[in-house]
């Protein structure tokens, strides 16, 4: 440690005062400053590139589908939509602007929301295997959907599957939050409760399935396997508002999430009210994930894998990781949508399967790669 006065005899004299002044005048941490600027540059660059790729893929995805409509027809009709002019061919317009556009927007928003929820979950629970469904959201939502489809039981009349799925998605998380208020809200406790909730609601859902008619059963499975093509513009608007609100809230807390990554003691010493923050983040991300799941069904792997991919490029600073993950998630879902429509065209592969096929191996690859580095 050459920067430090290495003498053993303590002698508070002018000697050390001068040495101190000397060190402080010399500038100073050159590598640090360079490293910091370059890190920032790289991170911003990745985010910009990811955003551009997402937009390009989205623009391509809108032109994919089994209905006969050309590339230029799609964009013509989108232009009519933007400018508000009456389209000459209203059925083609319907396909482009009222079926495909909501579909791609849903993919985008769901990808963003699930990825941000996953990133926050992983940071908050300090666990690389956490994803938005860790708190039992998917099991709860499945149960709610099954309830609506098989028993016709709607929590709010006219709310249909969506409201049911949302309410029941939130219930496990609410139970966990209440339990962690009684005990301390430690990450381990939360994860264990989440797993417990998952098993409970899965079991209940299976119970219903046994008693169901075949058509109802297929409807439930269809819902569970995930789909982004069932939304209309009003749905997209709802999802947009919720994802936007959730993302802004979580982004605002991203710096605190960074500090929480040091551990509860250090975080408290740095001024963070850890239990409160964790609870708030949980509530926000649960609402966001539950809202998405209730419209799209259960699309797995996006929330789990996107943060890991983003982390490779932008590191663990959540102020960059959250937007980067969001873009990766959106990209992942849009690409999955394209693949799901192209692979067995004109039939569609369920999107949850495609995300598993992409996400699973990707995640395995990341795990294997990481461990090799750890050894080196």
């Amino acid at each position: 440690m050459t920067g430090i006065i290495p003498s053993i005899k303590h002698d508070d004299s002018k000697v050390s005062k001068e040495k101190y002044a000397e060190i402080e005048k010399k500038i100073e941490a050159v590598r640090f400053r360079e490293a910091y600027s370059s890190l920032k540059r790289h991170r911003v660059l990745f985010i910009v590139v990811a955003a551009v790729m997402m937009i390009l893929c989205g623009m391509y995805a809108i032109t994919i589908g089994s209905y006969t409509i050309t590339f230029s027809e799609v964009y013509e009709n989108l232009w009519y939509w933007i400018s508000g002019t009456t389209p000459p061919d209203i059925t083609k317009y319907h396909i482009a602007a009222e079926v495909r556009l909501p579909r791609v927007l849903t993919a985008l928003l769901a990808g963003v929301g699930l990825a941000i929820a996953g990133t926050t979950m992983q940071g908050m629970l300090k666990n690389p295997l956490a994803d938005p469904y860790t708190m039992g959201i998917s099991s709860g939502a499945g149960f709610g959907a099954a309830l609506a489809i098989i028993l016709g039981f709607e929590i709010i009349a006219g709310g249909g599957i969506v409201i049911n799925a949302f309410v029941f998605a939130v219930i496990p998380a609410a139970i966990i939050l209440m339990m962690s208020k009684l005990h301390t809200a430690s990450p381990t406790v939360m994860i264990l409760c989440g797993i417990g909730m998952m098993y409970l609601f899965d079991a209940l859902t299976q119970l219903f399935m046994i008693t169901a008619h075949p058509e109802d059963m297929s409807a439930v499975y269809q819902w569970m396997v995930g789909s982004i093509s069932g939304t209309d513009f009003n749905n997209v608007l709802v999802i947009l508002v919720i994802v936007l609100a959730g993302s802004i809230a979580l982004q605002a807390m991203s710096k605190q999430l960074n500090v929480m990554g040091l551990g509860d003691e250090s975080a408290k010493s740095l001024g963070i009210n850890v239990e409160n923050r964790r609870m708030l983040m949980m509530i926000v991300l649960t609402m966001m994930a539950a809202a998405i799941v209730s419209f799209t069904g259960i699309i797995g792997f996006v929330g789990l894998v996107s943060p890991h991919i983003a982390r490779v490029f932008v590191g663990t600073d959540n102020r960059y990781l959250i937007p980067a993950s969001a873009l990766v998630g959106a990209l992942l879902l849009i690409v999955a949508d394209i693949i799901s429509r192209v692979v067995i065209a004109p039939n569609i592969l369920p999107i949850g399967v495609v995300t598993s096929c992409i996400g699973g191996p990707l995640f395995l690859f990341l795990i294997l790669k990481a461990r090799r580095e750890a050894w080196a």
């Binding site: 209905y67 690389p128 093509s229 890991h308 004109p346 369920p350 949850g352 598993s356 750890a374």
Partner: protein, 160 residues
């Protein structure tokens, strides 16, 4: 990336379980879907007869279900017809909501009519100068389509 608990095998095992889980779900889904094919997923052929500019003509119309959306039943209709000196072709879409009714934002409801032993709902749709009259039966199957324009009077009837 550090995996605090379980070391090496745990995360791998967990991911494999997740993968197997989603494939199992997909397999069940496929089995269920195959054993319960949705009767709305259909394609039909229609034979067209009528007049063009006063000339007799005939043609074919096809309808095909397009899996674009899970909240609507979407069908693409294409037809061509020819007479001695003229021919025409067109395509249009018919979209039904989950309630098996054409979307009110695009099609206008006219009424109902008994044809044979069925009661058909009548909807209309206009497109580039051509008026289509859709006679809708069950399961989003259109039994007949009337195609009229200034110079054209055609009827497409579902082939049995």
């Amino acid at each position: 990336m550090e995996f605090g608990f379980g070391g090496k095998a745990m995360p791998l095992a967990l991911v494999l379980v997740m993968l197997v889980g989603s494939f199992a779900l997909f397999a069940i889904y496929e089995v269920v879907m195959i054993s319960n094919p949705d009767p709305h997923f259909h394609s039909h052929e229609y034979s067209i007869s009528g007049t063009f500019y006063g000339e007799e003509c005939e043609g074919i119309m096809t309808s095909e279900y397009k899996p674009e959306s899970t909240s609507e039943y979407i069908y693409e209709y294409k037809w061509t017809a020819r007479s001695e000196n003229h021919s025409y072709d067109d395509d249009f879409g018919v979209f039904f909501g989950r309630n098996e009714m054409p979307l009110e934002s695009i099609y206008d409801y006219i009424g109902e009519e008994a044809v044979g032993d069925k009661v058909l709902q009548i909807w209309s749709y206009s497109h580039e100068g051509i008026d289509y009259t859709l006679y809708v039966g069950e399961l989003c199957t259109i039994e007949m389509v009337g195609i009229t324009a200034d110079y054209m009077l055609l009827i497409a009837v579902l082939k049995k």
